[in-house]
């Protein structure tokens, strides 16, 4: 039986009863983005990017990731608009309370951990799913 722990809260781009569940992958460079979309389980991955602009994450958007989390940005940003158009659940400017540290000292869930994005309300919530 799995348990869920709230580990992050941000701004929801659009509301939906459909939750995104997937494994976390933090993408920090264009090379990582290109490697990622050539890899397996793209549609079962929730990707994390730092900024809220479209271009950096464009291959991931197009490849149909399960969900998007950003550490910066607002729903009116380019990435917010595009995630809405693609209907990909997206939580922006997310602050995590638990996880690992990036090279820049940001807290994010570790790659490979399973999360669920709850986008039913104005606030987007990220739950860590433990088996």
């Amino acid at each position: 039986m799995s348990t869920e722990t709230l580990i992050g809260t941000g701004i929801n781009v659009f509301t939906s009863d459909v939750h995104a569940v997937g494994r976390i992958r933090f993408l920090d460079s264009p090379e990582e983005v290109l490697d990622f979309i050539d890899g397996p389980d793209v549609d079962q991955t929730v990707v994390i990017s730092r900024g809220g602009t479209t271009t950096f994450m464009s291959p991931a958007l197009m490849a149909g990731v399960a969900g998007l989390i950003t550490l910066q940005g607002a729903p009116e940003s380019h990435l917010g608009i595009l995630s809405r158009e693609f209907s990909i659940p997206c939580v922006m400017s997310t602050a995590f309370t638990d996880g690992i540290q990036t090279a820049r000292g940001e807290t994010i869930p570790a790659d490979g951990s399973t999360v669920r994005l709850d986008i039913t309300g104005d606030k987007g919530q990220v739950f860590l799913v433990s088996e």
Binding site: V13, F14, T15, S16, D28, S29, P30, E31, V33, L34, S49, R50, G51, G52, T53, T54, T55, F56, S58, P59, L61, M62, T70, L71, Q72, G73, A74, P75, E76, S77, H78, I81, L82, R84, E85, F86, S87, S93
Partner: protein, 437 residues
């Protein structure tokens, strides 16, 4: 109160005083009942403006720009394209080259010709001679002036003729689109229903309901992919797209008409659009669901609830094959061609991404300055038959002011300069010195 709290006050309200949206427009009009962003058939004709008229235009545009930008100000870093840097430099470049280009166009077509250019968005789809360019043509140059003043490279009291020529150039096109009254979407309840009925009705008549969920899902993918491709083609900006509407439908509901520009020529990366039409236009008809909708002056739609595409009822897609295709040559796009367009756009996005990943930061900034400067001048100039002459006159040559600003604006100060220009009303320094003598 922290510095961040102080900053947020200026994000939430213009100068921490005036809200966004229609309420903000009302407040600006309470302060200045006849802002010079409104036009009349008489006041677009003079070449000379008073200081009061210029200041009135500055004051309203300063709020309008804040309204457009404030909510995007926390967009964060790109990771791929230094957009703030190239946009800021392009403003400076456009302040250097646009006034001469605008005078050349005005000399060629006259005041009435500019009004006719402003009428194009009423009569055509799939064209960049649209409200977005008309809205921004003078604004870009004025922001360059504001940046130069912020960098202490320009005395705000000089080049008055350039300011008035830019403002009147824009206002004449605005009058062509709207006639007497507000020249901007922000003065018209944040709506852009520009198409005339005899142009609109055949488009609406072509819209068909989805046969099943699979077709609906595919259309959503078509819309997202062509929009994303437009962003990439236009270097991470919204210049590849533009909405007009809402247009009320009989029996309730509304329609949006949406352009995505897919094959702009003249860029080093234009080949990513090979095989695609110059533009596709989506006719989006929505059910009479309770959707609050606004469209801003750069043709971006925002809705509550946000996922407005759930209420999509009927659609049609049209193509304009080249920039020179006349309206009579606009053709419907069928399902098979839509699938091909999606495939080509997907490949193009990846190609462009790989191109961008290999370019140096400096190369990307240089490309961006050129793209951004072209985009706000070329469509109008090309339609006026003036583009080749404008290019030959050195439009692409980096102006001394741009070269002077380059190291400062690419050295990490772009965000520092842009925040006051966009958010704190510093983009439009008054013509007259406010210093006490």
């Amino acid at each position: 109160m922290s510095e961040a709290d102080d900053f947020m006050k200026f994000v939430e309200k213009y100068l921490a005083e005036v809200p966004g949206g229609p309420a903000g427009d009302q407040e600006m009009r309470r302060r200045d009942p006849s802002p010079f962003v409104d036009t009349t058939a008489a006041d677009i004709r003079p070449d000379k403006l008073t200081d009061e008229q210029i200041q009135s235009w500055f004051d309203y545009m300063s709020w309008n720009l804040w309204e457009l930008i404030a909510t995007r100000s926390t967009e964060g870093e790109s990771g791929l394209i230094p957009r703030q840097e190239y946009e800021t430099l392009s403003f400076v470049q456009q302040w250097s080259v646009n006034p001469d280009a605008m005078r050349l166009i005005t000399d060629k077509v006259g005041v009435d010709g500019l009004v006719e250019l402003g009428r194009v968005p009423r009569r055509e789809i799939g064209t960049k001679v649209n409200h977005i360019r008309n809205y921004a043509s003078a604004l870009m140059a004025m922001l360059g002036r504001g940046v130069c003043v912020s960098l202490e490279q320009l005395d705000p009291t000089v080049r008055r003729d350039d300011i008035q020529d830019c403002i009147q150039f824009a206002r004449r096109t605005w009058h062509g689109t709207w006639g007497d009254g507000p020249g901007l979407a922000s003065g018209r309840g944040f709506q852009l229903p520009v198409l005339e009925d005899d142009v609109l009705q055949p488009l609406l008549a072509a819209a068909k309901p989805f046969e099943d969920d699979e077709e609906r899902t595919f259309f959503r993918r078509f819309n997202g992919t062509t929009e994303l491709f437009g962003f990439l083609m236009h270097y991470d900006t919204r210049l590849g797209m533009g909405d007009t509407g809402p247009y009320p439908l009989p029996g309730g509901g509304f329609a949006l008409i949406r352009d995505h520009f897919l094959h702009e020529t003249g860029f080093e990366w234009s080949h990513i659009g090979e095989g695609l039409p110059y533009a596709v236009t989506e006719v989006l008809c929505f059910k009479p669901d309770p959707i609050q909708l606004t469209i801003n002056d750069i043709g971006t739609t925002f809705t509550k609830p946000q996922d407005y595409l759930k209420s999509l009822d009927r659609v049609a897609v049209f193509a304009r094959d080249t920039i020179d295709t006349p309206m009579s040559g606009i053709r419907p796009v069928g399902h098979d061609e839509m699938k091909k367009i999606v495939t080509t756009c997907q490949a193009g996005v990846l190609s462009m991404y790989k191109i961008l990943a290999k370019l140096s930061r400096d190369e990307k900034i240089r490309n961006g300055v050129r793209m951004y400067s072209h985009e706000f001048m070329r469509p109008l100039a090309y339609r006026a038959g003036a583009w080749d002459e404008i290019l030959a006159n050195g439009f692409d040559d980096l102006a001394p002011a741009t070269q002077e600003a380059w190291p400062i604006l690419t050295g990490g100060r772009a965000a520092e300069i842009l925040a006051p220009v966009f958010l704190l009303g510093k983009g439009f320094p008054p013509l007259k010195s406010t210093a006490v003598v």
